[in-house]
Symmetry: C2
Subunit: 186 residues, 2 copies
């Protein structure tokens, strides 16, 4: 059984996941849309584990909430943070070590919860299998890029496109297997 690693994230049309100061205020107009509000819980039901970076975790710490009860969590940080839930490893693991740990735990579906720097590190290591990027009709111009400092060029294939009536567009794509990608980008 292989592990699915999904980068599920919202982005502006120009590819930013947060403003330069980390702000997500541009998502607020869509939060109460019923179709949008239903999307994440449906995704979360499909995952058994998640990994996030320090800044994303510190945001949850500031709210003192762990909205992912029952999931195995890896927080990639060298700080001694307070754990918000029992099944949580707070350590400076590499992306490969996280995947090894998730496989050792028998995980089947890991959510790469961000931020961009962590996504970039997993991407560079070739460890993301699925991308579910929800494009929001806004241009931010500057901010945190989808893959931090950059991603390795990677051909993908589109699995599904979900059009939300409020104007969001979720593109679900997957890494192309070696054989399939021979005529694509490398």
């Amino acid at each position: 059984m292989s592990l699915t690693v999904t980068y599920y994230v919202a982005a502006s049309l120009d590819g930013f996941i947060a403003r330069e100061d980390g702000s997500l205020d541009w998502l607020i107009p869509y939060e109460d849309d019923p179709e949008v509000a239903a999307d994440f819980p449906a995704f979360e039901q499909s995952i058994d584990s998640l990994v996030m970076g320090r800044k994303t975790y510190e945001f949850l710490l500031s709210l003192d909430i762990w909205p992912h009860a029952g999931k195995v969590g890896w927080i990639l940080s060298s700080k001694a943070h307070k754990p918000l839930a029992p099944d949580m490893t707070i350590s400076r693991l590499t992306p490969v070590q996280v995947i090894e740990a998730a496989n050792a735990r028998g995980c089947r579906h890991l959510w790469l919860a961000g931020g961009g720097a962590i996504a970039g590190a997993f991407q560079q290591a070739g460890l993301i299998t699925d991308y579910r990027i929800t494009y929001v009709p806004v241009l931010l111009g500057y901010g945190v890029p989808l893959f931090g400092l950059g991603a390795a060029p990677t051909p993908l294939k589109t699995v599904n496109v979900k059009n939300f009536s409020c104007g969001l567009t979720q593109i679900h794509s997957q890494r192309v297997l070696k054989k399939e990608s021979e005529k694509g980008v490398s």
Copy 2:
């Protein structure tokens, strides 16, 4: 009658319109798809004018072709290029001057043909009314961003999403009028 200014462009899922060296090789696998091949001619029928930067024009010069016969063209460059067609202005106009010239000529629909730097300049000046970005299932990681050095934060509204069976996704969005955007991003 107002002028529609459309940025019609293909981009990677992470928001780049070309590799760092300007290469568009990642588009080649899609060029022969009949649905893709039919999209641009349909768009081109709707425009009467276009504007492009020096690099985009030099690419056409290198091929010695002007595929936009019958359109009014502005090439933003300070070089003394060879004109490829009669109705072409090659000059270092500002984005505002281009819009003034297009209005003076009675143009109704201007295509902002790129590249990213020109798109960024028009975006910063608030002159783009329509965005038709075709997302290609590929991550480039680095390259020419959709809006060059950055765009002014701009809330948009989705007008239409076109799903190509080969996996491309074209999101057509429009600038939100002032009144509509009050609760959005500014």
